[in-house]
């Protein structure tokens, strides 16, 4: 059976940063990602990033990915397994890997430490006919357009006015696609107002306190029915509006992809501020199990910038726990944590901070 020091599951900003950091200490790394290319969410993010300057704000997501991948390729002690899904973490601490979309060979890998950086999955919404072709997640639409140059349809209804809904709407408009409307169940827009005003100026109505009730169509989406909702998100009768759309784009949040952590038996907790079930962790990003670390969206839905910092912390501490040495270990830890703190020192991070407090395993000495 193949063996390695640290297996990193997921090659998004968190996993890539963890790999680079741990490899710089000399650890043997195996990085596994199910994408055709490394980079996770970043490879489709053509917009300039928000966030702190130290963490690449102002740079486009795809550029960040390129930089990280270049660094990875320079590291001799990082083995890459791409186009491969980690399908399980088993009781003998073996992870199983299936390569290729139709792969039928199960590879086994035994690692002394595992960093789970699997990111998140898009939330689905229950409405009538939600399985008709034409119903997409916003992330999928972004991938189609920005990675493969394919437009999803001609007339889009965007569901959700958080940052993702707003950014993807804008990118659809840039691609010449008509966005009929954005509906948002909450009474106010969740994303940055600059994004929202840009979209409004382009003539797209944003209906707050509205949600998608139903879609119609024979073989694909032909029509959507939206309706006003009350405080409890119940549809208010006789407020329905019909929209002629062929594409529904759901931007209704992300949930941490934590299945492997469940299977491993990490202590898990439902923390609404972090997007769902997450593993409890200490400030080294170590879960309740000594050999498992976490980083990025799987640890709580946040941003690429925080994912990279968490990745570095997990990478550093996983390598040191295996006996790899770095001179200023304590200082490095403190600095990385300080950077994270500064990154989160804005009103928009308040919710995340409450969530992180609930997820923290406090250690006796530090």
């Amino acid at each position: 059976m193949r063996e390695t020091d640290i297996a990193i599951i997921g090659g998004g900003p968190a996993g890539l940063s963890a790999a680079i950091y741990a490899a710089s200490l000399g650890a043997k790394i195996t990085l596994i990602d199910d994408g055709l290319e490394l980079g996770g969410q970043l490879i489709k993010q053509t917009h300039k990033f928000f966030g702190s300057e130290a963490q690449f704000a102002g740079i486009r997501g795809i550029e960040i990915a390129k930089k990280l991948i270049q660094e990875i390729e320079r590291c001799k002690n990082i083995e890459l397994i791409t186009n491969a899904t980690v399908t399980g973490y088993y009781e003998d601490e073996v992870i199983t890997i299936i390569q290729g979309a139709d792969g039928n060979i199960m590879k086994k890998l035994k690692a002394q430490r595992i960093i789970v950086a699997t990111g998140a999955s898009e939330n689905m919404l229950p409405f009538i006919n939600n399985d008709l072709p034409g119903v997409y997640g916003a992330g999928a639409v972004q991938t189609l357009m920005n990675l493969y140059g394919v437009v999803p349809g001609n007339n889009v209804l965007m569901v959700g006015a958080g940052n993702i809904g707003l950014i993807v709407s804008y990118q659809l408009l840039q691609a010449g696609i008509k966005v009929e409307a954005i509906v948002e169940a909450l009474p106010k827009i969740g994303g940055y107002l600059v994004h929202a005003s840009k979209i409004r100026r382009l003539g797209v109505p944003i209906y707050t306190s509205h949600s998608l009730k139903e879609v119609y169509g024979t073989d694909w989406v032909e029509k959507a029915v939206i309706s006003k909702v009350n405080k409890n998100f119940e549809f208010i009768p006789e407020t329905e509006k019909e929209l002629e759309v062929d594409t529904i784009c759901l931007a209704v949040g992300l949930s941490p992809l934590s299945d492997l952590l469940w299977q491993a038996g990490c202590q898990m907790k439902y923390i609404v501020e972090l997007g769902g079930y997450v593993a409890l962790r200490d400030d080294h990003m170590k879960s309740s199990l000594d050999n498992i670390y976490i980083a990025g969206d799987v640890a709580g839905i946040e941003e690429a910038s925080s994912a990279m910092l968490e990745g570095k912390i997990a990478g550093l501490n996983a390598a040191v726990s295996l006996g790899y040495r770095v001179d200023n270990f304590l200082e490095l830890n403190i600095n990385l944590r300080k950077e994270l703190k500064e990154l989160r020192a804005n009103p928009l991070s308040e919710k995340v901070k409450i969530g992180l407090e609930k997820a923290l395993i406090k250690r006796e000495v530090d």
Partner: protein, 381 residues
């Protein structure tokens, strides 16, 4: 929570629910089911729910036949569709010794009105066209064997029981059983105490520890048993495929997924671990592909595990404990407790309420181990 009951059943799996339903149906009142988790969260919700009538002892054949009779009309009786699928069991033989045993079984089964018959390898292939006959020298087929949806069946019993007045308490764990003068006094749970003269141990994989709470030593242990399911595929075949010597059982379910597992008593973990191993999925995949080669193209989507509650002769332990009045057991089913639940539930209810049963189960008492009268059933996985 209720303070006093006439009968407390520990365990809300298929056994506990069937017993409760049958007790209530016979008119008993003040029945309580205590379940530490949720309905069917134990082995009952994890099992293959295969139902066969092909056994090697008269008693097991009769019990299984009677159970199948109940299953046949159970959806109507419980007013809950349990998805009965009578597609048969094709049990394959790989050795002469097995063939000889099967011949004896079939004679016995036919004498008891069970429709099993011997089949040649060619006939087996007619019944299951994608079969690879390598190593197979014959088998038996019983067309009226089948399977059900284990969750729906357990829910069906639980809901029907509750309609008849049974109280079902989920998330209620029994932690102690109080006795006095070789009689049951009460059970203590994480939610309080219930006074009761009668306790039924239907705790599945935890029946040993529950016995200890009452100061009773039940000769059972629990062992993990794993199972997997594939993605749904076009219909390929219907019956359950099973072998005792090659050690497997699997079947394509009506919704298209192929479900099955194998027993591994030498390596599997003893105790209450219900985690999964990659060794299982690899070995099971090999077994499945060898027998039905076309499955090579199919993905597994899920694997999980449950507990077999094993007794020394792999037969259930049923009845009241001779040294503890009011302490009834329905335990030790050793991997075939789902198929028997309709009939054993009825018989335990008869035993508690009438003191006698319409089908004799006295041989399945706990005393048989001391007496050295173990039951020798040749046909179990």
């Amino acid at each position: 929570m209720i303070k006093k009951a006439d009968i407390v059943i520990i365990g809300g799996g298929i056994q506990g629910c069937s017993i409760a339903y049958n007790l209530a149906k016979k008119g008993a009142k003040n029945i309580v089911i205590l379940e530490k988790n949720t309905c069917a969260s134990g082995s009952s919700g994890r099992c293959g729910a295969g139902i066969r009538q092909q056994f090697g002892t008269k008693m097991n054949c009769i019990l299984a036949r009677e159970s199948m009779k109940i299953f046949e009309t159970l959806s109507e009786e419980l007013d809950y569709d349990i998805e009965l699928n009578q597609a048969g069991y094709l049990i394959l033989a790989y050795t002469e010794k097995e063939i000889n045993q099967f011949k004896k079984n079939v004679v016995l089964e036919q004498s008891l009105g069970i429709e099993a018959k011997m089949v040649t390898p060619e006939e087996a292939k007619e019944i299951v066209p994608p079969l690879n006959l390598e190593g197979i020298i014959g088998g038996t087929f019983c067309p009226t064997d089948g399977n059900v949806n284990p969750l729906y069946t357990t829910f069906g019993y639980a809901e029907a029981a509750q309609r008849l007045g049974v109280k079902y308490y989920p998330f209620t764990e029994v932690t102690e059983i109080e006795t006095e003068d070789k009689r049951i006094l009460s059970v203590i749970t994480n939610k309080g105490k219930i006074l009761t003269p009668i306790v039924v141990n239907a705790a599945g994989g935890y029946s040993g520890p529950v016995g200890k709470m009452a100061g009773v030593d039940i000769p059972v242990y629990s062992q993990r048993h794993q199972i997997l399911i594939t993605e749904p595929i076009d219909p390929l075949w219907k019956p359950m495929l099973m072998s005792f010597s090659e050690n497997y059982y699997f079947q394509q379910l009506p919704d298209g997924g192929v479900l099955g597992g194998y027993g591994d008593p030498e390596h599997e973990i003893i105790g209450d671990n219900v985690g999964s191993s990659w060794q299982f999925s690899r070995t099971m995949a090999k077994k499945m592909v060898k027998l039905v080669p076309i499955l090579k193209e199919v993905h597994m989507v899920r694997q999980w595990a449950g507990l077999y509650n094993m007794s020394p002769d792999a037969q259930p332990i049923l009845g009241e404990h001779p040294q503890l009045k009011g302490f009834y057991m329905s335990v030790g089913f050793s991997g075939h407790g789902f198929m028997l639940a309709p009939v054993t539930g009825r018989l335990i209810a008869e035993l508690i309420l009438d003191g006698k049963t319409s089908i004799p189960i006295d041989k399945l008492d706990i005393g048989r181990f001391k007496r050295g009268e173990l039951i020798c059933e040749p046909s179990v996985v």
